[in-house]
Structures are given as structure tokens and as C-alpha cells.
Amino acid sequence: MVMQRLSGWGRTAWTVADLVHTTEVDVVRSTLGTAGERGVISRGLGRSYGAAAQNAGGIVLEMTSENDPMGIDADFDPMSGLLTVAASVSIDAILRMCVPQGWFIPVTPGTRFVTVGGAIASDIHGKNHHIDGSFGQHVRSLTLMLSNGEVVELSPKQNPVWFWATVGGMGLTGVVIRATIAMLKIESSRVEVETVRLENFDAVCAAMSADGADDDYRYSVAWVDLLATGASMGRGVLTRGDHAAASKVDNKDPLAYDPRLNVSAPGWVPNGLLNKWSIKAFNEAWYRKAPAKSHIGLESIPAFFHPLDGVNRWNRLYGKQGFIQYQFIVPLDRTDVLRKVIEKFSGAGVASFLAVLKRMGPQNAAPMSFPTEGWTLTLDMAAGISGLAELLSEVDSLVLDAGGRHYLAKDSHVSASAVRRGYPRIDEWMSIQEEMDPIGLWRSDLSRRLGLVDHRRSL
């Protein structure tokens, strides 16, 4: 038994669990048999910001295969683009394998260091949600170990109810063992990106709306400066694009792919390094760097999709108290709420580095999947700010009153009632969850805080 202190990527709310690292199905099964009443949760690369992949006092199955000397556990058919891969494999490993063969992961978040298992459990989304939907929509089938050790195959056709309960199910329906993903054909490893600077929030929203030709671009996202005030409140930099055609790439191997980490954040960072002033200076520089007139250029996959991976361990930049990431979505016609939220944060002097705005497409069939048609805004902030609990609770109310909700993979503070209000299909999901896990084995710190599973069920 290895008792280990764990947190999410935000480095808050640390708890201790018995950590079992394995990628072996038999070991997973035998570990389930040793579980006590604190249950089990699986964990990948620990990129969810809050408590989704930790389980205080229970077992955490760490399923990563980053350093596997055997290489990647995957079968890839470069003709059909179907990739069958172990859940422990990361998007990073998949890209290294598939990009040179002309295929790309259909959905990627802002970091490539997430596992396939985690991507399914959180039903992650990327800059192409308005066109391609979320990760679960590209999973053709998956195998899942249930709490009794049985492995079942699920797909949108074969047992769709269990399949969609697992997509976005935060690991609470079972352990994903393998998945088959339909990859996206690409001609080059470059992205043709249009960058434009927009002087205020209205301009950003207008450019990103469906009328603003946003649907012509596969990828679209805006960075918003939350510290700008007055006439330039909510100014931003909009980047949109698609994979570049081979003919556009001035390189003898248009599919060459070499993601390298640039720099690491130091192991120790003074608290308060990221403060209102440093972030303001950064935001100003970032905004000025973007061209005032629309500009088209080629960018690499890491530069366009994974800017966060440019600095290894960037989560340490917030110092000892860690940080929280606040991501919510509101319906398309509620840009007024986005404004109010931005005003609330800037009024309270909360500085957020890299606030990101994105218009999302329609929701998929998963009851607990986060994305739904609307605007999603993501901000991060130091966790130690005084009065943050009260401020966030006010913002939560604005979001929920507008019919919005919070992204569970990022969440580290909302209440059980906020999730009930935001996810109207939660009861349906909970009854499927109970059917899939009658003994109540799957538990996490997140599920305890949010009452996602009935913790009175005993093992």
C-alpha cells in the first residue's frame, strides 16, 4: 500500500489515498477486490483541475503508460483512421504515433497530456466543439471494467445507455480499459490560423457568433483580457483555423511532428508571483502582440492546440496555495451574463491569466456531458484570494439563473445543489450509475462533494 497525497492540476484540496499504479487488467480487477468502504477511482495524468481523480482514504488506480518501455498499447489502421488504444495512453503519445501518418486526434483540450480514459470520463472538448462536438462523439466503442470485475463492451449502438453514461461520467461508472477512436485525416502537421485582435467584448462575441462566419472554421477560440476596463472591457484576440493543406506547407515532409517542451516552471515559486499587476502587463503585451488587422499564418500543432504545454508544470506558477479554474457555459443569448461575470471578477480585483471564450455547438447524448449550445468562458485565479468562496458563489448563481452550468473536470468548488440545477439529467444518470455499480464502488472526492453517487450505499 502506497499512501500518497494527491490533488488535481490546480494543487488545492490535497487528500491521501492508497495509490496503485497499473495498466494491467488483471491487476485492476484484483485491486477492486481489496477495496474498502472508501471505494475506488481511476486517475490518468492528473490534469483535471479539481478533485475528480482523487479519493480520500480510498484507492486511486493510476492508469498511465507514459514511460512504458513496450511503447504505446495501440492498434492503428491508417486506412480507416480507426485507433484502438489503451485508456492509459495519452493524447501526446497518440499524436506522436498518428500525425506522421496523416491522422489527428478528433478532439484535443489545451494540453496533450491527458489520457484517453480521462478524455472519455470528462467528455473533453476543444476549439472545434462548434463543428465536431466533444470527445465522446468520436469514440466508436470502449471496453469498461465494472465494479464486479466484469469487462463489458459499450458503443453508441451496443448498449448506448451505458456508453453515454460513461462518457462524461467522471469515472464513476467503471474503469475504461480500451477505446476505439475515429481519427481525423490531415494533410500536414501545420494549422492555418487567422489571428485578429478585437477591441471590446461585443466585437469578440459578434465575430464568434454563427453569423460572424465562425462556422467556416473548424477551430475557433478567443482569449479575453479581463483586466481591461472602460471602452475596451473584454477586448480579445480571436484565433481560428483548420489543418493546412500539404500544398501550403513549405517543407519536404509536411507531416513532420516534433513536440518538445520548452521550459519548466521552477519547483518553488513565491506566492503571489501571478498578481494583478504582472497579469495586467502580460495581458497588455499579449494583446499588442496580436495584429490589429486579420492576419493568416501557419502554426505548429503544439503552438496552436497546446500552448499550456509550452511551460512544463505551469500549474506551479500560482505558488503553494494553488489555483482554481472556473469554467461555465451559458445559453447563446445570454452574453449579458458573461459581461456580468467579467465585471464581478474584475470589480473584485480578481486577476485571471488567460481567460478563454468559446462558442459551443449542440449537446451530445451523454447526460452528464458539459458542452451544450452556448458560450463557455474559462478563467483561472489564485485559490488563496480572500473572499473567493463568497464571490464564486455569487457568480455561480448568475450562471445557474441563466440556465448555465459548470464543467466538472475543472470544478473545485461548486455545491451539490449547483450541479443538480445545472445538469437537469442528473437523476437519470444517477439511476444508470447505480445500475452499473450496484455496490457503490466508484467514489471520488468530487463525487463526495457533489453527491454524484449515493454514498450511503455500502460495499
Partner: protein, 254 residues
């Protein structure tokens, strides 16, 4: 569970009518807290004191558990009862205390027994019972109300001071023992606090109030601090007082 902004979900106050304890609850109950359990001898009094907080947070559930702080061995059952009502104990504020005034221990030495039972023996049993539960949870914080009276025990306050000295040392050792378990102890050493317990007593220098103690706890509870002094200056004052030669110490007008 504690959330990402340091708010614990289930908070338990042992010594539910303690003014300092209630003041701490006032400060640490924030959006996100779902259950507060008041463990007290007098449920009605405890309930009246919490009513203001309960009104502010309509979603908050307030529970009551009755206990007799003098019955040290019963603490095991008290903890079990709390767990049965709310599940995990994320934060436990340990505030029960007995301070006797004007008792002639020469005439009635047996009167010392309840002081030791409440302040020392019962609190020790309680803290181990809590530690056992919190270790299973993989997370938990105990906040022990100690006192500067234990730093250098003085005449006239020998029983209270000695029990506080004992429990303070015990709590620090327990915290050490719990390293790596996710469970920790915060020892709070206030100076003279003006409350109902000290009503009518002469104020000592650097006296403080329940609110100031609560604010200090609120600030420290999310950090890795093991000991706090209220007011903070007392730490340095006692560094001197503790090391004074006995001849000088005994002459001080304390």
C-alpha cells in the same frame, strides 16, 4: 471534503456553546459548507447561538449531538454518533473547556477531577477518536483551543494552566504522528479572551476577544501552520516569559 477554495463541507464544534468555538464557526461557514454539527451539553443554548449563521445559509444543515464533556471515555461514542449523522468530519473545532474560579482546592481537592477530565483526559480521547476517523477519510483538520496559560503555568491558575499545557503538548505530538495521513492539527494559543468564561476576572495584558481568535483561525486553517498565537505578539512575549529565571517570574505581577 474540503473544496478548492478551502471551504470544508462538514464542520463539527465540540463544546457547542463555547463563545470562541461559535465565533470560529461564524467565520469558517461559507458558501460550500453543507453540515454543521454542534456537540454540546445544552442543545437549546447551542442552537440559539448558531441561529444567525443558519439564517444566512438556507442550504446549511445544523445538527445537534449531546455530550457530557466530563465523561472522557464517552468521546468515542460521541464521534461515532457525529459520523452517523453527517458522514465525514472535515473540520473539528475542539472548544470544550472548564475554568473554575474561586474554588478552594485545599478544602476540595476532588474538584480538580472534572477540570482534568474536560480539558485534558476527555480531549485526548476525543482527539484520538477523531484522528482514527480522519485517517480513514484520508483528510481532516482538528482545531484545538489551547491557551497561553499552558506556556508557563502560574499560581492561581495551576489546574487550568496545567491541563492546557498537557493537551497542547499532546496535540503537537499527535500532529507529528499524523504526518502523511492527510490529517493535521492546528493548535490555537489565545491570550486572555474576554468571554462569559472569563467574566468578572481581571483582564490580563494583551487580552483579545472571540472574534479575533476566530479570524486568526480562519486565516490559518487552510495553511500548513501547526500553532497560532492570538494576538501574534504573545509568541514573542512568552518566549521571554518562559525563559525568565524563577526568581524573576515569581515576582511578576501576573
Amino acid at each position: 471534503m474540503k473544496n478548492g477554495v478551502g471551504v470544508a463541507q462538514n464542520v463539527v464544534l465540540f463544546g457547542g456553546t463555547s463563545e470562541i468555538g461559535q465565533a470560529i464557526i461564524q467565520k469558517i461557514v461559507k458558501p460550500g459548507v453543507s453540515h454543521v454539527v454542534l456537540v454540546s451539553r445544552d442543545i437549546d443554548a447551542a442552537d440559539m447561538q448558531i441561529s444567525e449563521v443558519a439564517e444566512r445559509y438556507p442550504d446549511l444543515e445544523v445538527h445537534h449531538v449531546r455530550f457530557n464533556a466530563e465523561d472522557a471515555a464517552s468521546m468515542v461514542h460521541v464521534v461515532a454518533e457525529v459520523v452517523q449523522q453527517v458522514g465525514d468530519i472535515d473540520v473539528a473545532v475542539i472548544a470544550q473547556g472548564l475554568l473554575q474560579e474561586g474554588v478552594d482546592y485545599y478544602a476540595n481537592p476532588a474538584a480538580l477531577v472534572p477540570v482534568a477530565d474536560v480539558n485534558f483526559t476527555g480531549t485526548m480521547v476525543l482527539m484520538y477518536a477523531l484522528a482514527a476517523q480522519m485517517r480513514l477519510q484520508g483528510y481532516g483538520k482538528m482545531v484545538l483551543l489551547s491557551s497561553v496559560a499552558g506556556e508557563r503555568v502560574r499560581k492561581g491558575n495551576s489546574a487550568y494552566g496545567a491541563t492546557k499545557a498537557g493537551i497542547d503538548g499532546f496535540a503537537l505530538a499527535l500532529d507529528h504522528e499524523l504526518v502523511g495521513s492527510g490529517v493535521s492539527v492546528l493548535v490555537v494559543r489565545p491570550g486572555f479572551v474576554t468571554t462569559k468564561m472569563t467574566k468578572g476576572m481581571d483582564k490580563a495584558p494583551f487580552s483579545t476577544d472571540a472574534d479575533a481568535v476566530a479570524s486568526a483561525v480562519e486565516k490559518a486553517i487552510g495553511t500548513s501552520k501547526t500553532v497560532i498565537w492570538v494576538p501574534g505578539l504573545l509568541q514573542y512575549m512568552f518566549l521571554i516569559l518562559k525563559n525568565l529565571p524563577t526568581v524573576v517570574w515569581r515576582r511578576l505581577p501576573l
